[in-house]
Amino acid sequence: MPTIKKTKVEFEGRIEEREVIVEEEHIERWARDATMQVVGKPTPRVDGVARVTGRAVYTYDVQLPRMLIGRFLRSPHPHARIKSIDASRAEALPGVVAIWHHDNPPPIAHLEGREVFDEELAYEGAEVAFVVARNERTAEDALNAIEVSYEPLPFAYNFETATADAAPDVLTGVDNWIRREGDVYERGDMQAGLSDADVVVELAFSTPVAAHCCLETHGSVAQWEGDLVTVWHSTQSVFGTRSSVANALGIPMDRVRVICDYMGGGFGSKWGAEAYTLMAAVAARETGCPVKVMLSREEEHLVAGYRPGSQQRVRLGAKRDGTLTLIEQEARVATGAYGGDGPVIGGPANDLYRCPNVRTVVWSARANTDHARAFRAPGYVEGTFALESAMDALADKLGMDPLALRMKNYAEISPARNEPYTYKGLRRAYEMAAERFGWADRESRLPREEGPWRRGWGMASQIWGGGGGPPANALVKLLPDGTAEVAVGVQDIGTGTKTVLTQVAAEELGLPLEAIRCVVGDSLPAPFGPGSGGSVTLASAAPAVRSACREALRQLMALAAIMLDLADADVDDFTVQNGEIVYTPDPEKRLPFTRAAAKMGNYMIVAKGARGPNPEDKAINTFGVHFAQVLVNVETGQVRVERVVAAHDIGRVVNPLTATSQVYGGVTMALGYATTEARLIDPDTGLQLTANLEEYKVPVMADIPQIDVLFVDEADVEANSVGSKGLGEPPIIPTAAAIANAVFDATGVRVTDLPITPDRLLPLLVKARAEQ
C-alpha cells in the first residue's frame, strides 16, 4: 500500500527533502556479487534496427494527413519594442492559413504567465509573429512578407554590462539583478581557514556560453481529435510536457497525450511545452489540421538555451602537507532576460573535498538573451573547471603530485551533508585510471618535445548526484505467449534507457530480451516517470521496473502453484530459471513459463511497481576522474588532445556497451567546451555571431582523442534495489580541467579562460617565453 514518506532527493546539485508517496518495495536488493544473466552484459540496443534503417520516427519525422507547418517571425534586435505590424501581404499569399502576433493574439496567449507575443522583445529571436501555412516554403515566404516596425532599445548582453552603473533595463521596469546578494553556501570559519594555511593560491577564471546544439532541433507536432490533443514533442520529459500543455491550454490532463518515441538529443534543453508547442496546439485546434513546428538551426542557437558563461574566482588554502584549510569560490552569471537563479557552480567546491572552511557564492543577473537552461551537469562543469584547475595550481605550488593532493583531501563522508555515503568508489577510480594512463611513469613513456609540440599530462576529479528517487512507476503485462510488455513513463533521449530497462525486466522475469517489449516516451500507456535530467532516469526507473516484474511474477507464481498442485505453497518459494517456473523446495516441480502463461488464456496479469524511498541519512553520489594527455604547439598555440582515460563510479553498470557510449559522449562534449566552443555576441549590436554549426564549433570525428573508459562497477546496494546510479552527466564534468592542467604541464602556462583557443594561448606562450 502506498504511504507518505519524507525522502531526500538530489537534483543537479540541490538537495531537497520532499514528502512523496512511496510504496514499500517487497523486493530483495540485487547483491553486489549477484549472478546475472542479462544485467551487466554488453547489450546492443533493442531498437538498433530502427535507428540504423532510418525507420525510427523522431518528432521531426512525424507526417500526418493535412498537416500544416508553423514558423515564427523573430526579433532581429537584442532589445526592442514593436511599433507596428502589418501582416496583410503575408495573409494574402496562397497557402497561408493563419497568422498571429501582438495585434492579433492567439486565443490562448499566455505561457507560464508570459505573453507569447509581447510588445517588448527582450532578446534576439523573441517571438514576433507565428505563421501557419500549407508547407515550409510558403510559411517562409509569409515570414518575409510581414512588415514590422521596431523601436530599438538599449541592451545589456552579459553580466558585466547588465550590472554596470547606469546599465539599461534588460526588461523595462524589472531589476537587472536576479540574485544581488548571491546564492551562498558556507561552512566553518573562513578567517581561520586563511590563517591556518601555509600556502594560498588564488585564480580568476572565465567560462564560455555553451550551446547544446541538439542535432534534432526543438519542435512539436499537435493533433486534435475532438477535445483530445496528441502532442509529439522532442522532449526529456513526456510527463512534464503533459502537465505544461494542460496548464497552458487550460484543459484537463487526461485530454493530453504526449509522445516522444525517438528524440535527437536534449542535453538539458528540452523539457515542457514551449511557445512552439503551445502555438502548434492552438493552431491545430483553430485550423482543424495537425500542425508541426520545428525550429531552424539558427533559431536553435537563438532561443533554445545555453550553459551560461561565468566569471569566477577561486581561493584555496592548504597546509604544507597539502591538507586543505580553505575553499572559496565566487561566480557571476547572466541567465537571460527571463532567466532563473543560475546553476549550482559552487556544488563541487562544497562537496568534493574534505575541508572545514568552505564558502561559495553565485551572483546572477539578467541580460538581453534568451534564458539559460540546464546543460549536462549544470554548474558542475563550470565549477569543476575552476576548482580543479586551482587544485592543480595548488599542487604545483606545494610541489606535490596532483593525484596525491586529491588523495590527501579525500572525503570519506559527504562534506556538504556531513553524512556517510551509500558507497563511494572514487579511490578505486583513481587507482584504475592512474594505472591505465600510466600516471606514475608518464614522464618516461613519451617525449616531452616533438618539434614545436610540447606534451603534457593532467588530471581532474568529479562529483555529481545521480541517485534518483521516487516517484517513478512501471507497469508490466504478462501475455499468454510468455512475452511481456513493460511500460515506463520515462523517455529514451539517446542514452539507451529503453535497452537497459528491457535488460532489468528480462533479468527479473527470467525471460530472454527478445520476449520483452519496453514502451517509453508515451504518457498514455505508462504510469508516471521522471524527466531525463540530473542523471536520475536509470536509478529511478529501474527499481520500479524490478518491482513491477516481481509483482507480476508473484501473481503468476500463485497460478503456477495451483497448476502444480501446490496451492498452499508460498509464492516466494518459486523462482524462474531458464524459462521455467521452479518450486525451490522441490525443484522437480517445475513448469515452463510459457505454459503457465498460456494457461492464463485471456486473463492478463497486470502489475504495477514503484520506486522505493532513498535511504535516510546517507548521501548518494557518483564520482569519476579523467586523465588527459595533450600536445601543444608553442609556435601556433594549437592544442591537440591525444588521450583521455576516464574512470567512473556509478554503482552497478547495467550495460557496459551503452555506458561506455555515455562516457565517450561526455568527454567529447567537454573537449568542445575546453577547446573550441563559445557562443559569441557582438558587443556593438548585441547579436549572436555564432548561430550556426560552422561558427559554433562542436567536435567532429577528426578531433577525437583516444578515450579509454573504465568503471569501478561495484553495485551501490544501499542506494536502490538495482544498485545503479546515473551516468549521463558525470563524464562531461572533469575533462576541461584535466585538459587545462595538461596544457599547464606541457607549457608552464595556465589557461584560466575557456575555450583554450590559439588566439588565447599563443599570447600567453609568447609572454611566458619573454619572461623566461
Partner: protein, 168 residues
C-alpha cells in the same frame, strides 16, 4: 548547348531513388532533402542545419556522398540517388548497419542515417580504410552525442564483415 529554363512554378521531375523512377511535381527551389522527406516520405535523411554543416542529410548520388539539404532536386534528374531506406535488402541489413548496432555506433540516432551513408560510400571507394582514413572521410558528419569512437569502430568492423562475406 541548350539551356533549359524551368519554373518558378512547379515542374515535373523524374528522380531515380533507390533503384526506382519516381515522378514528382515540385518547385525548382526545392532541395532534394525536402522532396525525399515530404514528397516521397523517405524521412531517414535529416535536416540538422540546412546549410551543409552537419551531414545529417547525407545521401549518395551516383557514387559520391552529397548533402541533400544543399542539393536542388531539379539537379538530380538522370542521376542515381541512394538513401538509407534503400540500403536494406528486404530484412537483410547492410554490413554497415549491422556494425553500427553491434558497436553502439550511435546514441540519439538522429545523425545515424547520415553517418551510415557516409560509411557506406567510404567503404565502396576504400574497402580497407585505416582509422585515420575513417576519421578523415567522416569528418563531415557531426554527432553531438559524441558517439565518434564507436562510429569509427563500426566502420572498421563493417569493413571486416564485408571482407569475410567476400571470402565466405
Amino acid at each position: 548547348m541548350t539551356l533549359l529554363f524551368r519554373g518558378p512554378g512547379k515542374v515535373p521531375l523524374t528522380l531515380n531513388v533507390n533503384g526506382e523512377d519516381v515522378a514528382v511535381l515540385v518547385e525548382p527551389r526545392r532541395t532534394l532533402l525536402s522532396v525525399l522527406r515530404e514528397e516521397l516520405s523517405l524521412t531517414g535523411a535529416k535536416r540538422g542545419c540546412g546549410r551543409g554543416q552537419c551531414g545529417a542529410c547525407t545521401v549518395i548520388i551516383d557514387d559520391a556522398t552529397v548533402y541533400a539539404c544543399l542539393t536542388l532536386a531539379i539537379d538530380c534528374e538522370g542521376r542515381r540517388i541512394r538513401t538509407i531506406e534503400g540500403l536494406t535488402d528486404g530484412d537483410q541489413l547492410h554490413p554497415v548497419q549491422d556494425a553500427f548496432i553491434q558497436e553502439d555506433g550511435y546514441q540519439c540516432g538522429f545523425c545515424t542515417p547520415g553517418q551510415v551513408m557516409s560509411a557506406v560510400s567510404l567503404l565502396e571507394h576504400n574497402p580497407h580504410p585505416t582509422e585515420a582514413e575513417v576519421r578523415d572521410a567522416m569528418a563531415g558528419n557531426v554527432c553531438r552525442c559524441g558517439a565518434y569512437p564507436n562510429i569509427i569502430r563500426s566502420v572498421l568492423t563493417a569493413a571486416r564483415m564485408v571482407e569475410s562475406t567476400k571470402e565466405g
